[in-house]
């Protein structure tokens, strides 16, 4: 120790962390690593693509992928903070997309007549929430690891999706649905555009012009707004409400939480339902934007969601994590996944190479952060 505290104030155990200024406090935050990686990736891709990744169209396309990652990563993060995993996210996306597209094409089940975007969405949501509840209830009641329970749902739901497609539709994809977002406000909320004012303003300021001299891009994909809404709600609940306190406690020391009257099991079941909700929002944005569905949609998304959560500073062992960090993580992953479109010289598979390296680095970093937070004691 270089600096000795003044002798008039006896040094106490509790003060051992107080040393260090604002910078040290900032460096202790869980999202620091994710932030640094994000900045590096943004700069690298901006330079390598000659700025194309962040021109009007590049920004729209990148944020579209980022928002997709962001939405499901938040569901995965909340679960991971409560020390649970959901490997069924990807299959849940495929199932929800199939369910909505099938209803829109073939009508509601049980001969309830043709579906509207709203009825297709809410009926699908009811099913996915019920599935989330079922997964949570099995995990809580059986005491089995959520890893194995959701792994079985990964296979079960993907298989069920394919079977339903073939049985009812005759093929494992649906395309050429009517463009509902043109006729239905509800479909537009998921599949339309948002923040048009941003691109209008950009055009007014002299940018965002196409070859013909008109305004080029008119708005971001609606899922960007969904991502922001989901992230803000998750942040608010996690850091400012009673439930947030319970989520942390459920992942940190579950028996202690139980002893203090925290409804640990309800928290866990609820979070599996939130994860299913995120997957359903993901699927609705996809279906209503492209008017297509495919049995393979969402493949491997569960693992990407978990990877983003970890890169965002969430501890695999639960009890600690940050929504802001996961937002940074989603930006990083989205940019790298999309980089091949802006930098044609690179091989797209470098994305997975990058994910592997960053993930491993993040796990080591998180462990250090955890020790720093607890003072290494």
């Amino acid at each position: 120790m270089a600096a000795q505290p003044s002798l008039s104030v006896p040094r106490r155990e509790a003060d051992r962390l107080a040393a260090g200024g604002r910078l040290a406090t900032l460096a202790r935050r869980p999202e620091v690593g994710a932030f640094v990686v994000m900045v590096v990736v943004v700069v690298a891709i901006a330079v390598a693509s000659n700025g194309q990744a962040f021109n009007a169209l590049g920004l729209k396309n990148n944020l579209s992928i980022i928002a997709q990652f962001g939405i499901i990563a938040i569901g995965a993060t909340l679960l991971m903070i409560a020390r649970e995993y959901d490997l069924s996210i990807g299959s849940m996306i495929g199932f929800a997309g199939m369910s909505m597209a099938m209803m829109l094409k073939w009508g509601l089940p049980f001969g309830l007549g043709p579906a509207t975007p709203a009825s297709a969405f809410f009926l699908t949501l009811a099913m996915t929430l019920a599935l989330g509840w079922l997964i949570g209830t099995i995990v809580v009641r059986s005491g089995l690891s959520s890893f194995i329970v959701t792994l079985s749902f990964l296979f079960f739901l993907r298989g069920l999706t394919e079977v339903c497609f073939r049985e009812i539709n005759g093929s494992t994809q649906i395309s050429g649905l009517p463009d509902f977002k043109e006729t239905s406000t509800f479909a537009y909320i998921f599949g339309g555009e948002t923040f048009g004012w941003f691109y209008d303003l950009w055009f007014l300021l002299g940018g965002n012009v196409n070859r013909a001299g008109n305004q080029w891009v008119t708005g971001f994909d609606a899922r960007v707004a969904w991502w922001i809404v989901v992230a803000l709600l998750a942040w608010l609940v996690l850091s400012r409400t009673q439930v947030g306190n319970w989520i942390y406690a459920t992942g940190d020391n579950r028996e202690a939480a139980r002893a203090n009257g925290v409804p640990v099991d309800k928290v866990r079941i609820g979070l599996f339902m939130v994860s299913a909700l995120c997957a359903t929002i993901f699927a609705a944005c996809q279906v209503f934007e492209t008017n297509t569905a495919d049995a393979a949609k969402g493949n491997l998304k569960e693992l990407e969601a978990i990877a983003i959560a970890v890169v965002g500073g969430t501890l695999m062992t639960g009890g600690y994590g940050s929504i802001l960090g996961v937002v940074f993580g989603a930006v990083t992953f989205g940019l790298v996944a999309n980089a091949v479109f802006f930098i044609p010289a690179i091989d797209g598979s470098y994305y997975r190479v990058f994910v592997g390296v960053v993930l491993l680095a993040a796990v080591f970093l998180n462990e250090r952060v955890r020790k720093r937070i607890t003072g290494g004691l």
């Binding site: 106490r12 155990e13 509790a14 003060d15 051992r16 962390l17 107080a18 609940v237 400012r240 409400t241 009673q242 439930v243 947030g244 306190n245 319970w246 942390y248 406690a249 940190d252 020391n253 028996e255 202690a256 939480a257 002893a259 203090n260 009257g261 925290v262 501890l315 009890g319 600690y320 955890r370 937070i373 607890t374 003072g375 004691l377």
Partner: protein, 259 residues
Amino acid sequence: MAEPLIRIEGLVKRFGPFTALDGVDIDIYRGEVHALLGDNGAGKSTLIKILSGVHQPTAGRILIEGKEVHFRSPRDATAAGIGTVYQDLALNPLMSVTRNFFLGRELYRGPPAFGLLDMKTMDAITREEMRKIGIDIADPSQAVGTLSGGQRQTLAIARAIHFGAKVLILDEPTSALGQKQQMEVLKTIVRVRRRGDVAIVLITHNEVHAKLVADRFTFLALGQVIGRGTRSDLEHEDIRDLMAGGRPIGDLARELAAA
């Protein structure tokens, strides 16, 4: 003598054929530290588990302020004012001091569960309650993992008192701690005792610590009370003999020599 806060009469607990407690009588008074001493298997744990509502007695009565009580769950015991601080303390190391203090009993504005936390008030209360029993936490938002073992013990005790404990049961609070931290915990016990309105039941192996802070002693061996008394009663007795199950220390030395 004043009426005891808790009176335990003829408490018996059997687990199948095994008799863990065999007719135990204990009186616990307000503002006193009551040390419960005994070797492993003497029945200390069973006794506190009955007092904190984890087990139900096979026979015998527990009276709080003269009224008989029946605890069906730990929640009943907490509601009746019995605060148990277990060895593992029921704390979450990665969460802040304040969040731990109020865990499950958070102050909030708005609807239950999703109401906004009143962190400012909770921070202030946490700081004040910890200060009262001797630890000034500079930053109640620091993680509990950064606290020393003694400070964690203080946090758990302050929490129990704030949420209405009239009797504080401390289960081996000084075991697994370093010398300095043991002193911290003993100081905390003395400060709580000074309040005058809380009774403390101190379960310990350590007769030195018991002698330092306790007003009244009960010795258990094989499920029975083998000795009891106030601090002055026991001044000349060898507490160590009673700890060893009532056998003089010389016998033990002989036993060891024969081994």
